[in-house]
Point group: C2
Chain length 212, copies 2
């Protein structure tokens, strides 16, 4: 059509960005639904409304596309992880972290399910990321929790077990969302139901470790 008056190559850049975003969004859904092997480039292309060859134009291989999405998901998770550092009160910090993870499961379930697929498969693409970035983050939180225990602010619980419990419970609402939906008479949890679940999860865990 018309040549936009945009400065420099702004139009071409916009086209690239829009197509990449469209493909990434489609791929995140398809990978989450079918796993790495089960997802086909044809389906990703169809979901993104572009020809299959175009997917390969922007992302050379299926594996490259998969890795890129894993990175994006991890970035989002590290953001949520930051809510662990905002306050000196253990109850406030833990509540904030649990709520942030619950909200992320609700707002971006595909990322969580993609992660679950990846770990179940043996973390072939992400074991290095887990053993460095994620492990460092986790170990530092464990030290914080041990500090709270030593100061008598909470019960003497094994910190890793507590963190795994938070991971598992919050991500369950994304990873096993379909099962929860079936138990809920085949209807997704309403906002009110989810809010109630979130409050209950916070309450049980905080009380469980002696923080209420």
């Amino acid at each position: 059509m018309s040549t936009k008056p945009a400065v420099n190559g702004a139009h071409k850049a916009a086209i690239r960005q829009e197509n990449e975003e469209q493909i990434l969004a489609a791929a995140e859904r398809v990978f989450a639904d079918f796993g790495f092997k089960g997802a086909t480039t044809a389906r990703i292309a169809e979901t993104a409304n572009v020809p299959k060859a175009n997917v390969h134009y922007y992302f050379n291989t299926k594996e490259a596309l998969y890795r890129r999405i894993m990175e994006d998901v991890c970035d989002h998770w590290l953001e949520a992880a930051m809510t662990f550092d905002n306050s000196a009160d253990p109850a406030v910090i833990l509540r904030g972290y649990i709520e942030a993870k619950m909200d992320l499961s609700r707002a971006r379930p595909y990322g969580s399910r993609l992660w679950a697929h990846e770990i179940i498969r043996g973390a072939k693409f992400s074991s290095e990321y887990i053993s460095t970035t994620v492990k460092n983050w986790l170990d530092s939180r464990v030290i914080v929790i041990r500090g709270w225990i030593d100061e008598g602010k909470m019960d003497d619980v094994e910190p890793y077990t507590l963190m795994y419990m938070i991971f598992a419970t919050t991500q369950h609402y994304a990873d096993f969302g379909r099962q929860i939906e079936i138990f809920n008479n085949d209807k997704p949890l309403s906002d009110a139901q989810f809010a109630e679940a979130k409050e209950n999860v916070v309450r049980i865990i905080l009380k469980g470790v002696g923080l209420s």
Copy 2:
């Protein structure tokens, strides 16, 4: 070789049973590791040490094999579920159930991971089973828990949320076992570590709902 003196067609029956078991065990591993699509009949055959054609002789299609394994896994889970009915004391019942689920995650992780794959995929093969058998079991436990709450034996928590928390936390040790292993300096949890985790999970949840 020699024709065994076995009564009737006992030998042939034994052959069938042994081959089926070998294929089922191999398929459970391979499906858990790679998902439905990612698992190949060739790999299942290789793992079971039988020619590929033999897999199709005993189980017509890949889907039939998958369904059969899903049923087997569910049977085992319903056994664990029965530990919910042994006593009148809520703390004893919940502790027993949580411990049984933790032990199952440790002893039979493939089943749990297979189930996780199936749910993440949208429960295409098992939604009917979940919406009937499993839902009935869950709903009846929820009624039991509501009874305990009404009798003032425990805190007023939303029973489904509590059950999901137990599901999520216990199965996490199977489904995300690889991640836990990486966090544990690339070594699987020792028996002592797992026992400690189990005790902590029980303690946090029981205290969290006012049962200790």
